[in-house]
């Protein structure tokens, strides 16, 4: 039998139109489905993550975006309150022994991990022991337990820490506590454990229930959290790889809050409807460090630092030659404060600022006079000359090539120092290169920036003689080769002062010494800039803004828990429908054009 192959008939225009109409209607129903499915059940707060997220393992996590989540899903002994003073979290109360070496914490009873197992002092002791004995577990928080001799949990509600020497900052050093029954089996391969078995068993205001690589983490509210349940049902922290996109997402309502925005974005958002911008007190400073003579612990000189800078008068003249107010106005767009004390004003309990005659302000005439009196006379080219060596006052200024503000600041510094007879050669370099040069002492002046948590111990420690490098150049952790035995004495005193106001006094004395040394010259403190959709979210910020409109330092642990949804006035999904509809329409048009063309050329093919 001969089969007859029937060539399919070319579609007529009407058939094409009908076909496209059917496809179009089906697509539109999908569009509607896609649009309506946006609204998940319950209320969701979506915030921008501070950094990207790659692990939820609290023993390894470094990035802020990870730590913010970890602090919300695992408890700790204590936590900072709205003023960043430590208050009890798992610990209800505590006592210290007469020799100040033993701390006994009374732990809350009746708390349960999210899988229903009891949360007891044994979990705390197990976690702390792991950090003290396992090098991998110590990666993120090991330094906090360096001074611990032993920890124990004699019963379910008692946790005891014995320290090697008295440790005044004990209440600031809480580390995330994990459930022993879950983590015991993870210890053997802790290095590779990302803690992504969802839902993650923990305890806190939130429970981590999901994570999309490089995009967002999803958390559900713990309705039984003893401090009070979060007002939202779901929290999403989404990572935006650039702040312009985060701001766009905030404007379109995709995000409820975004932090870490730039001054330009902050000002642009100031009058945006439904959005409130807010400034937070600073937690860090930007400054320059001047090489006072790099040396090892035993005093051996190292590096290629210019010896002229060993002269305190030259460093002091540089401090007088800098117009910090202009930097705040021009570089920060006014959203910050001029620098002076070592600890920023975000921590008023420790901060110190010079007053009256202590203050080193902008006075080029005074800078010139200091240098003139010290014998540094100007040459014919306007650059001063060292009377001892005949060398010009020419210094290298190392800047971070990946930090925009560094190059802006450098331009100002060049001009201001030239006006007092000092020539700067700006050397932009990578963070790594700058750090390597710093450690070897191969620098004259470097841009520097630090921030701190509520306990300033670490920030103070990087100025002690004990962190200078060893004789072979290794093991150093110094910020700028500052070394003053009197400062070290005060450092040792403050760490043993259990009376907070006494400790604060000592820390302020240490700051006066740093200020006088002119090794680290603070340029400014930049405010934390954020914005929140107040038309959709209420009660996000806490505390009261001061006269300048600056809020106290915010803590996401509280922000996320206190934020509450504003009753919706019926938002439009038009954009979503169009957003899905446009690509579908484009595909349909393309298919239509091809079909019509195929019909038009069917005769040729035959």
């Amino acid at each position: 039998m001969i089969g007859i192959m029937k060539r399919p008939l070319p579609l007529g225009r009407r058939r094409i139109a009908a076909f496209l109409a059917v496809i179009g209607i089906a697509a539109l129903s999908l569009v509607a489905q896609a649009g309506s499915a946006q609204a998940a059940s319950g209320t969701t707060l979506t915030v921008a993550s501070d950094t990207e997220i790659s692990t939820f393992n609290p023993f390894l996590a470094y990035f802020d975006g990870e730590l913010n989540i970890i602090n919300s899903i695992y408890p700790a002994l204590t936590i900072g309150d709205a003023k960043n003073n430590p208050v009890g979290y798992l610990a209800k109360k505590w006592t210290t022994s007469g020799d100040k070496l033993t701390w006994t914490f009374t732990i809350r009873s009746g708390l349960k991990w999210s899988d229903g197992k009891p949360l007891t002092a044994a979990d705390i002791a197990w976690t702390y022991n792991l950090v003290m004995t396992n090098d991998t577990a110590a990666t993120a928080n090991g330094s906090l337990v360096d001074n611990f001799a032993k920890v124990s949990a004699p019963n379910a509600t008692t946790f005891v820490v014995t320290t090697k020497t008295p440790q005044a900052n004990m209440l600031y050093t809480s580390i995330p506590v994990v459930p022993e029954h879950i983590w015991k089996s993870k210890v053997s391969d802790l290095k590779n454990f990302k803690n992504m078995d969802f839902p993650v068993v923990g305890y806190g205001p939130w429970q981590l229930v999901g994570y999309k690589t490089d995009q967002y983490a999803t958390l559900h509210a713990n309705k039984n959290f003893f401090m009070g349940a979060p007002k939202y049902d779901t929290l999403v922290t989404q990572y935006f790889k650039n702040s312009d996109a985060a701001v766009a997402a905030l404007k379109s309502g995709q995000l409820g809050q975004a932090g870490g925005i730039t001054a330009t974005q902050f000002k642009a958002l100031k009058n945006a409807p439904g959005i409130q911008t807010y400034q937070q007190a600073p937690t860090g400073w930007t400054g320059i460090e001047i090489n006072p003579g790099a040396h090892t612990k035993k005093g051996k000189t190292i590096g290629t630092g210019n010896p002229i800078l060993h002269d305190k008068k030259v460093r002091n003249a540089i401090a007088w030659a800098i117009d910090r107010k202009t930097l705040v106005t021009k570089v920060l767009d006014g959203l910050g404060q001029t620098g002076a004390g070592y600890i920023p004003s975000g921590y008023p309990q420790w901060a110190w600022q010079p007053t009256g005659t202590e203050l080193v302000g902008y006075d080029p005439a005074k800078a010139n006079k200091i240098l003139e009196d010290a014998g540094y006379k100007k040459g014919s080219d306007g650059i001063r000359v060292d009377p001892k060596t005949g060398k010009k006052l020419k210094f290298r200024l190392g800047t971070h090539s990946d930090t925009t503000t560094d190059s802006q600041i450098a331009t100002y510094l060049e001009g201001w120092l030239k006006a007092v007879g000092i020539q700067l050669t700006v050397q932009p370099m990578s963070f790594t290169q700058l750090n390597q040069d710093l450690a070897k002492g191969d620098w004259d002046i470097l841009m520097d920036a630090w921030s701190t948590g509520a306990d300033p111990t670490y920030l103070l420690s990087i100025q002690t003689c004990g962190v200078l490098p060893n004789e072979d150049g290794s093991g150093g952790n110094t910020d700028a080769f500052y070394c003053d035995p009197n400062y070290d004495k005060l450092y040792k005193t403050q760490i043993q002062q259990f009376d907070k106001s006494q400790r604060a006094d000592t820390i302020r004395q240490m700051q006066t010494k740093l200020y006088d040394a002119d090794v680290d010259i603070m340029l400014y403190y930049s405010d934390g800039l954020s914005a929140v959709r107040t038309d959709k979210t209420a009660n996000y910020m806490f505390g009261k803004a001061n006269a300048q409109g600056i809020y106290p330092l915010q803590n996401l642990f509280y922000n996320w828990r206190t934020a509450s949804p504003v009753a919706s006035k019926g938002s439009s999904n038009t954009g979503v429908y169009l957003g899905v509809g446009i690509p579908i329409a484009a595909i349909l048009v393309a298919v239509g054009v091809v079909a019509v063309r195929r019909r038009a050329t069917a005769a040729d093919r035959e």
Partner: protein, 357 residues
Amino acid sequence: MASPNAVDPISGAEAVASVAERPRDADLGRSTFWSYFVRKFLAAVVSFGVTLVIGFVLFSIMPSDPVATLTRGRPVGAKQLAHLKETLGVDQPIWHRFLTFVGHTLTGNLGYSWQYRQSVAGLIESRIGPTLLLTGSSTLISIVLGLWLGARSGWRPGRPLDRISSGVSLTLWSVPTFWLGIILLVLFSVGFGPIPALFPAGGMSTPDYSGSTVGYVFDVIRHLVLPCLTLVLVVFAQYVTIMRSSIIDELGSPYLLTARAKGLRDDMVRRKHAVPNALLPSVTVIFLQLGGLVGGAITVETVYSWPGLGYLTFEALRTPDLPLLEGTFIVFSASIIVMNLLADMLYRVLDPRVRAQ
């Protein structure tokens, strides 16, 4: 008459078929194919080896202090710093690192990322899908759009369509990708005037999405539109340009006259005869582009927060995270070399002149 070396566009396929039907020639063809393949394959292996060594040397001379970068601003004591250095193998001498690198590459182990504290293979695996979705879809659209426009422009050079398509595509080609991305983002993800926000400002899907699978697919498409459009607008010009000039080269060919003499419409002459001959130079560019697909698109991924390999590489460079850089470098190099090998093989199919070599 067509030159002896030119492809006979009308009877080319039949001619190849008739050649293939002759058994002795078929055997000969097969052995030629294998010797050609082996030659190209060995060349690819050597290229890969040389690329790896160059890559390792380049990355190794970069100043890097991952421990300082990772712990920047964190209260980490000297003991933990020393342990981190040991764990990450930062202190190992360069020859030791090279041997480890070669050993890892041969065994398919891409190492342990300093920055992300997890296996490099895992990091790449979780990001390769989104990258291929973005670069694959944009490349496909660019190729179709670019070749179509290029063929039409070249067929009637100097006409309005040619002027407009060449002008627009070259203008877009000259525009910095990140700039165009930001402009599109600000316009279409925030909305302007009466136009509402049409597309999301970033990511690959809506967080906390609770719709059906089909709805999720459309959600991903909605997220894909702007990054894909940005890439298409910037990239399609190269296809327009190459196709246009190739078509112009073919315009005077006698075989086109023959085709017209057969009574074919002008449109058919272009599509059936001119375009297939003009495609060869485009194939080179297409395969080069395909090889680079895995590399992602750093700027677009950054602007639209797309979870891809390009941004991962960028982050690895910032630390710098040498194991991660080396891992991504291996994958990118391998991808380009494999695609070049495929292009060489495909040339044999497309162009009988290569078969004759």
